[in-house]
């Protein structure tokens, strides 16, 4: 069994900070390495120049000293040393053509350097050696410096160059983070604004403060939202206009048929006219439900601004009572201070409530009361008496064209319409049977979505 792993989308901010810091550090490092290379070259040249200068100054002195010594004493003697100081950087040996060391500095090796007795640089066992001979070719001087000393000096210089960079990397990282965050703030705000847009909220996005680079995107998103809103509006208008265009001919046909019935009273054709009337009533009911469903599907359930739907609820209940032989059968109970302030479209709420009331009045026990109550903020319940609905049937009632165990006429769409409206609006329809606190009956509970923000101003009725 494979397990889907959801990959977290990469953060643009994080990526920018990482790459900018790495890039800056890399460039600094490259710069430092190039500087080190140049420094090495310069140091080598400087050290070599130092050796040459030393050799050229020492050689005449050494020659003179050797020539004088030879005159004063005889040829064989101990090799004299010039200086007894410790820790020389530069050492030398003065040799004759036989290769014997005639003079050497204190730290110079006792054995002669393995360098040819010819002018020029050479390297010998960790030494950088410069050899210069006297013009007559009798004497040669090796001036040498340990290569490790040069390396130490070079590494010391490079370290001085690079170490501050290592300390600067975290600081530059923090700086880049702050700059990137500030620079991306309009993008973050823009992104948050877009993420708040959905079928329920297609309000225009504030694009005035967007930077030049984002302005075209902002304008495109704005245009897209406007088109989407217009498409939704067109769909709603189509549903509403279709309702108008369909209802008027049905109304005309039904009214003419009922007139015909009145005029045919007692005649054989009356029964036929009655059948036409029944068909027209069924057509009226079904078309009504299909139009409601079309409107619920068109996403008309949400309102841009929240409103208190209590006046609408009272109106729907009054409407339902009007044709009732016993209007007292339908009661409305609103808890003190309860409000139905919610961003649900008032027409969608009206459709939902009409369906719930029709359901309760027609499919329940017609001799028992139906109660509409608002027990708390944003909750409406419609309760009717009747035998309990089996749990498996209850779960199916919000499906389209699914009918309960009832003999009353119905389309099987009522609760599906309510469910669709609540889903679109971000609310919920809950069905319970038996009704809570009873042994039978049925309760439909609407849980309206909470308002993100409150706009004052109620419906007037």
């Amino acid at each position: 069994m494979t397990r889907a792993v959801s990959k977290r989308p990469a953060s643009l901010t994080r990526r920018l900070i990482l790459w900018l810091t790495l890039g800056a550090s890399g460039l600094w490092l490259c710069g430092a390495l190039a500087a080190a290379a140049i420094l090495q070259h310069q140091l080598e040249a400087a050290f070599d120049a130092g050796l040459r200068e030393t050799a050229e100054r020492l050689l005449p002195l050494a020659a003179e000293s050797i020539d004088g010594g030879a005159r004063d004493s005889d040829e064989s003697h101990e090799i004299p040393v010039f200086d007894a100081r410790d820790g020389e950087y530069i050492v030398y040996q003065v040799r004759n053509t036989k290769g014997q060391i005639l003079v050497r500095s204190y730290d110079a090796p006792l054995e002669p350097f393995n360098a040819a007795l010819a002018n020029g640089f050479s390297e010998d066992d960790g030494w950088r050696v410069l050899t210069i001979g006297t013009p007559d070719g009798r004497l040669f001087i090796h001036v040498a410096e340990q290569i490790s000393h040069r390396a130490e000096t070079l590494f010391g210089s490079i370290a001085t160059l690079i170490l501050p960079i290592a300390a600067l990397i975290p600081l530059s990282g923090i700086g880049i983070f702050l700059i990137v965050r500030a620079a991306l703030r309009p993008l973050t705000a823009f992104s948050a604004e877009i993420s708040r847009r959905d079928a329920r909220n297609l309000a225009p996005i504030e694009t005035g403060s967007l930077p030049t680079e984002l302005a075209p995107t902002g304008a495109a998103v704005q245009a897209l939202i406007a088109r989407l809103a217009a498409a939704f509006e067109a769909e709603r208008s189509l549903a509403a206009n279709s309702a108008h265009e369909l209802r008027t001919p049905i109304a005309g046909s039904l009214a003419q048929t009922q007139r015909l019935l009145a005029e045919l009273k007692g005649q054989p054709a009356e029964a036929r006219a009655r059948q036409v009337e029944d068909s027209l009533r069924r057509l009226r009911r079904l078309s009504e439900k299909l139009l409601q469903l079309a409107r619920a599907d068109s996403g008309m359930s949400s309102a841009a601004e929240p409103r208190d739907l209590l006046p609408a609820l009272r109106l729907v209940v009054d409407d339902a009572r009007r044709p009732m032989a016993n209007p007292r059968r339908l009661t409305l109970d609103i808890a003190a201070d309860a409000s139905l302030l919610s961003p649900v479209d008032v027409d969608a709420f009206g459709i939902a409530m009409r369906n719930l009331l029709e359901n309760a009045l027609v499919h329940g026990d017609v001799t028992m009361p139906v109660t509409v109550s608002v027990p708390a903020d944003r909750i409406v319940t419609v309760t009717n008496a009747g035998p309990p609905v089996a749990p498996d049937r209850l779960a199916l009632l919000t499906r389209r064209f699914e009918r309960g165990d009832t003999r009353a006429e119905g389309s099987g769409l009522g609760l599906a319409i309510v469910d669709q409206i609540m889903n679109n609006a971000g609310g919920e329809l809950r069905l319970a049977s038996p009704a809570p606190g009873r042994t039978g009956g049925f309760e439909a509970r609407l849980i309206l979505p909470e308002a993100d923000h409150v706009v004052t101003g109620d419906l007037k009725t």
Binding site: A240, A243, H244, E245, R247, T248, P249, I250, A251, G252, S253, L254, A255, Q256, Q258, R259, A262, L280, R284, P311, A312, L315, V316, R322, P323, V346, D347, F349, G350, L459, K460, T461
Partner: protein
């Protein structure tokens, strides 16, 4: 009652006119708002049945103009627009009732009667004056429990008188009630039908205020 029907759909309008007239009311049927305006200026209607979508404008604007003028004629909106928001707009504009198409003619008549009674100051459809019981909802009348057989014209006169028992109803108002039964009202038509009613109800129930009109006795 004299009713102005403003409806542009021929099929529905024709059926409504015939049905309302058959129920004993006088109906003037117009199909446009400007015609409704002219008709309303020349005739004092008891009730207006108003469609909202008309060829020359919105019925709601016509209603608002009426109310702005202080006209209190009862208005019942007949519309194919079932949105609650439009209904609320209609009621806020001053409509007395709002019926969504398609509707049953019986429901229309019940609502129409309820609105008319509400305006007459007596929302109760049952009127009892001594031995006379009038059921305005079911359009029946009885004396001491004995149901009376009234013609549509006789009912039209009785209904108008029963809207405000004890109050004087002028002869032209009664003529308006009879208007549905013929374009030409004969000059003595009101006297003829009042006379016939008196024969069925008893002479004392309908009183004559000479030169002014008639009233339904309350004692």
């Amino acid at each position: 009652m004299r009713i102005l029907l403003v409806e542009d759909d021929e099929m529905l309008g024709g059926a409504l006119r015939d049905h309302v007239a058959a129920e004993g009311h006088a109906v003037d049927w117009v199909r446009r708002i400007d015609d409704a305006g002219h008709a309303h200026v020349t005739v004092a209607y008891d009730l207006i049945l108003l469609d909202l979508s008309l060829p020359d404008g919105r019925g709601l604007d016509f209603l608002k103009r009426l109310r702005r003028r202080g006209d209190t004629t009862p208005v019942m909106i007949l519309t194919a627009m079932d949105q609650l928001s439009m209904r609320i707009d209609g009621l806020n504009a001053g409509a007395d009732d709002y019926l969504v198409k398609p509707f049953d003619l019986s429901e229309l008549m019940a609502r129409l009667g309820a609105v008319a009674r509400r305006y007459a100051g007596n929302p109760n459809p049952l009127v009892t004056i001594g031995p006379l019981d009038i059921d305005q909802a079911n359009r029946t009348a009885s004396i001491e429990g004995r149901r009376l057989d009234l013609t549509a014209r006789e009912w039209a006169i009785l209904e108008r008188l029963a809207q405000r028992p004890g109050m004087l109803v002028s002869r032209p108002q009664l003529e308006d009630a009879l208007y549905a039964f013929g374009a030409e009202i004969e000059s003595n038509a009101v006297e003829v039908y009042v006379s016939r009613l008196r024969k069925k109800l008893g002479v004392s129930l309908i009183q004559t205020a000479r030169g002014l009109g008639y009233r339904l006795a309350t004692e």
